[in-house]
Structure formats: C-alpha cells, structure tokens
Amino acid sequence: MNRSLKKSLFAAASAIAAITVTGGAVAFCGFYVGKADTKLFNKASKVAIMRDGKRTVITMANDFQGELTEFATVIPVPVVLEEEQIHVTENAILDHLDAYTAPRLVEYFDEDPCVMYDRMEMMAAPAMSVGAVDKLRKKDSLGVTVEAEYTVGEYDIQILSADQSDGLAAWLKENGYKLPDGAEKTLESYIKQGTKFFVAKVNLAEQAATGLKYLRPLQIAFESPKFMLPIRLGTLNADGKQQLFAFMLTRSGRVETTNYRTVKLPTGMDIPVYVKNDFGAFYKSMFEQQVEKENERAVFLEYAWDMNWCDPCAADPLSQDELRELGVYWVGGDDKPGIMPRRPMPQARDVFVTRLHISYDAEHFPEDLMFKETNDRSNYQGRYVLRHAYKGDAQCEAAEQYRANLPKRYESEAQTLANLTGWDIDAIREDMNEAGQSFEEPKKDSWWKRLWGNDAKEG
C-alpha cells in the first residue's frame, strides 16, 4: 500500500500581498500631499502600535512609490515630540510581523482510508538612524507654531501647532503641501482637540545616503490616554476605499475598536484545493464579501495570538530585538532570532499581537479608530484548509465508502467557497473538476468481487 507523503507547503499568502493590488501611493495615518499637482491616492497602509497603559509607539510603513520629492505627509499627534521620540526603522520588521500574523492556508493530505485517518498539518507562509537639526519655536502670522524641526533618517520633520485651521492650511500650502478639499474642516476639529501635527518630507541628500530605493517606516513614541489611530485626513483625498492593517502589540490581550464593531473573519473552513493556486484572489474576495455583509462598517480581526508561539506558524514569532524595535520596551534586547515554532518559549514575553484589517472610507468610517485593549488572551487566526483526497488505489470497504463520500465533500467545499467569496458556484465546480476534484459518483464494485479471491483473480 502506498502511504501518502507528508509534504509541506509554502504558498505566498500575505494578506498585504493579497490585498494590496493598487500600487501607487499609500497613506499611513495621514494623507499624502503632493508638492506638484500630481494627484495622489492612498490605498493601503500598515501600522504597528505598541500600547501599554498610556505608552504608545506607532510604526508606520511607507510604501510610497512616486517621486521622492513628491512625498509629504501630515499626521495628527497628541503631543509635541522630542527628537528622541522619532525614529526610522527597517521595513523587514513590519514585513516579518505581517508574515507572522497573515491569514494562512493549510493543507492536509488524506491517509489511505484502509489504514487510518490521520492528519498532517502544513501551513502557508506569507511573503515575507538619526541626525538632528535645530529646534526652534516661532509663531508666524498664520498662527502656526513650528514647535520643533528635526531630520530623522531620510525625513525632514516638523512638529506644528496651530490656532486656526485656515492658518494651518495656508501654512501647509505655502510650504508646498497640497491639501485635499475639505481638509480645513478636519484640521479644525483636530486643532480644537489640542492636536499637534507631524509633517514630514523626504530629505533627498539623506535619502541618497541610505542607498535605499524606498522610504523606511517612521516611528513615533509618546504618552497619551488616547488609544486611537487618526484616519480622517487620509480619507479626504482617497479615491474609493483604503485598506489599513493595524498590528497591535499589547501586554494584556486582544485589541478591538470601541466605536466600530470588531468582527472575527470566518476561519477554519475546508475549501477546494485549487484555491492554493491563487490564495490571494480567494482571500481578497472573501474579505470583500465579509465587508459587504457587515454593511462596510466593521473592523476585522485577522489574528490574535500570544507572541510566544504559533500553530501553524506562518513565520517565526518576532525576536525580542524586533519587538523592542517596534516599541515593546518590556522585553529584553539580547536574544537571538531563532526557531521556536509550535511550543511556548521558556521565558514568557508577555506580548500579545492583534492584527486588524479595515477597509474604510469617509462615509462608513467618519470617526477616527478608537481602540480598547481587552483582557482576552484567547487565540484566533485566519486559517483556511485544503484537504487532498487520497489518490492511492486502496481496495477495501472503507476505501469504497471513502470514495463514495468524496463528491459530497467536494460539494460542501464548493458551497463553502461560494458562500465565503460570492463566486459563482458552477464556475467553482468547474474549476474543481479541472483540479481533479470530481463530483461524479465513483463506480461501485459489486460486493461479491471481494469474495473468494475474485479481486486477486482480476489482478
């Protein structure tokens, strides 16, 4: 008898890779404002937030792809930031966090039904310095105070406070920032709430010195009772919906939004094996379907897990160094990035990661995202299962039964897929047929064929 091979599978499944199909500019919490008249759009962004009490570190990925001279961003921040509170980090860390928390595809290969049912789990792995200038505080005629100016990494940064939104808008325009329509009103709301503004452009000389072709993530550290992410400015110049991935690193447990419903995505379903060829398309359709189902107003939970381990691991948990870089100040900084799948680490790291995915626009998400850390430490992951049928030529009653049940199983997988994605069920069945998941009832041998050595006679 052939026993099925236990194989492992690595299918690129980063939701970022799957969802971000837009290319072009991407916002973090703020909006991009072009210095020339090029219209810039924000579509997807990645943000990691460390939160412990009032302590907050926000890391904002930057996949801006336009001319570097065009890059400019305005981010509302709760306080004036000192130079040491601003940092530039590496893309790789956010990519690792993305990979570790990405929704995953797992694959099972059915055992020979004549031997026993056993399951083997496999998983799909997903893809993937500071210099100072001077500090000054001056208030100009527009009522805008430049509270501080720094050059951090490849960015020229100014921290502004303002009395009036029109003054701030005029100041930004004078300084080459292009504001989307309606920005004044939103800026006014932030100003009245005592918000400061973090504005950044690329310092071309510093950028050239990095030798990198891309912009690195910006980080800010501050203390604030407000646990939130400003998204309102980013919706102003957006053409259609934007995607936001928020990775929350906390001590006590899962993070959810208090002003929007947080929903767990459907998980753990068996889906047809051909989905393996295009998990990205599946995930994108499923996500869009769920967004629709929640009237486009929900925040989706894609992962909630204790950072000590994972099962199955889409990528190794982050090392202590990586966690510290993301602002998790309570973990030690001297371990080696290592292999620690499937089993809790000996020393607890006390880091809980929550991955939230939000598809938003101004109409459905009028208010900034307000968060709350819960004490929920139960694990959740977006996980979709492929079950490969046993292909060997097992000859026993159990095998016949098994084969007879396959069409029913395929049908239920087809239904599941259609429900999750809204895809046409007939097209799904066709694709399944092509991929070898046939809905035809297998021919049944007469029971006496296995009597008196008939099967042996037939050879």
Binding site: E188, K192, N259, T262, A298, E367, M370, K372, T374, S378
Partner: protein, 287 residues
C-alpha cells in the same frame, strides 16, 4: 392576580432581554458561550437564594434573572469564574451594601465595574453591537417605554437626551460631520444601558427631580470620562459613582421608596403628569 403578574415590568424585561440574547446569538453578533450564560444565571439565582435565606424572605428570581441577562449581554471573559463572580457580586451587593432601606448599587453595574476595575479577567465590548442589534435594543427599549409609560421612564430619556446633546454639541463645536455623534449614539451597549440598567427604579432616586439629576449627571459623567479622559467603560463607572451620590440627591428631593408593584407616586406628587386610570396600577420598570 394574573394581570398583575403581567404588569410587572420585570417580566417584560426578562422576555425582551432573552429575545435580544437569542437574536444576538443567531445573528452571531456576540460570542457568548451557553455554559458561561448558565454559570451567570446559576450564580445570580444562588446568591439571591442565599441572601433571601439570610434575611428570611421569600426569594424572588425575577430580578437576579434580569441581572444575569444584562451581565451576559455586556460582560465578556475567557473563563467562567469571572462571570460567575460578577453575578455573585451583583446580587450580593443588593444584600450587603444597603443604605436607608435600599441597596446602593445597581446590581449588574457593580458586578461589571468590580470585575473590570479589580481583575484582569473580564472586559466589556462597547463596540461589538452591529446596527441590527442596536436597532433591536432600541425597539425593545421603546416597547418598554410604551408599555410602562406611566412609570419612571424619564431616566433613560433624560440619560440619552443629555448624552445626545453633549455628543452633538461636541461635534458642532469641533465642526465634525454629524455622522460622528450618530455613530456614538448607534451603540447597542449604550441603549441597553439606558433602557435596562440605569432605569432600575430600585437604584434610581424616588423623587422626580432627583431622578432627573441622577440620569443627567450620569450622562455628563459618562461623556466626560469617555471623551475627555478616554475611558471606554466610562458609562459603567459613571453609574456606580452616581449610585454612591444618590443618597444626597434623595435627601434633597425626598419621596417614598419604590416597591415592585407600586403605582408611581412621585410623578403624581410633582403634578406634572397624572397617570391615566388604565395605567395607574402599572408598576415601574426594573433593572
């Protein structure tokens, strides 16, 4: 006898809260483990039974059932014990923490506050209510209001009114789109809190003026905590604080204590509205 049984608003509350729970369950609006629900009900009723035994009265299980339903709808935990403990604290407080012949705290409220404030094992989910569930809660609350309008239904109306004025006022001052305050009001937990928790006649003042101050004060405090101090559980803390301040309000605006089944004497006493004849025997809503 049968009529007076139906007229007890607690029956209405048990039915509507159970309906909400069933609706939330079937619509997958919230994750509640049936075992957790059973534990909450059991702990509530057991504590009520024990307390009644200690003070030698006949136990009535309507109130603990309402408390249990409120806790099930508003409090979450991974384990069973925090929820059972919340239920025990809630009902226990009715017997243990009393002043002037009344219990001090709203039972479900103090159960939630105690667990959220003093343990790391439970949490509330203020944002977990979809629009459909929000609407269901609003309907249930409105139904309660229509059925028992002669009762002290000024509490949820004053609470929601003051809260709405504050969030809309804030939006107007900030120049925010009105979608923002609307979003804040379309919150199932808020509506449930207003119609099924703070409205409890046993833990709100008996005098109409004191009651308005109580509801309005709770709304103001909840607003301040939520919007100026960013405390997501602000409304629960606000009610607990107002319950502590209630004796003062009652001292300033004295009125006879409410008993289940009482007609609403206090409304009559300020002469604002005479309960109609048909409604005159309606008792008041319960927590």
């Amino acid at each position: 006898m049968a009529l007076s049984f139906i007229k007890d608003p607690r029956i209405y509350q048990i039915v509507t809260l159970s309906g909400l729970l069933a609706f939330g369950w079937s619509a997958h609006a919230f994750e509640i483990d049936p075992i957790q629900f059973a534990a909450i009900v059991l702990a509530s009723c057991a504590t009520q039974w024990l307390g009644s035994l200690l003070i030698a009265t006949r136990p009535d299980f309507k109130s603990p059932l309402i408390t249990a339903l409120s806790l099930t709808l508003l409090l979450r935990a991974d384990a069973i014990w925090p929820l059972a403990a919340a239920a025990a604290i809630a009902i226990g407080s009715k017997f243990a923490l009393r002043l002037g012949g009344k219990h001090i705290f709203n039972p479900a409220n103090i159960g939630i506050v105690a667990m959220v404030l003093f343990t790391d094992a439970a949490w509330t989910t203020p944002g977990q209510w979809g629009t459909a569930v929000w609407f269901a809660v609003l309907l249930a609350g409105a139904g309660l209001f229509v059925s028992y309008r002669s009762a002290r239904f000024d509490v949820p109306l004053v609470f929601l009114g003051v809260y709405a004025v504050l969030v809309f006022g804030r939006a107007l001052w900030l120049g925010d789109p009105l979608a923002i305050p609307l979003l804040r009001l379309e919150n199932g937990a808020l509506i449930l809190f207003a119609f099924f928790m703070i409205s409890d006649p046993k833990t709100s003042p008996d005098g109409a003026i004191a009651r308005a101050a109580f509801a309005g004060g709770a709304a103001l405090l909840a607003y301040l905590m939520m919007f100026h101090f960013y405390i997501a559980d602000g409304m629960f803390y606000a009610l607990a604080i107002l319950c502590l301040a209630r004796p003062l309000l009652e001292w300033a605006n004295p009125a006879p204590h409410y008993r289940w089944g009482d007609p609403v004497a206090s409304l009559r006493s300020i002469g604002r509205r005479q309960p109609s004849k048909t409604n005159s025997t309606h008792p008041v809503p319960a927590e």
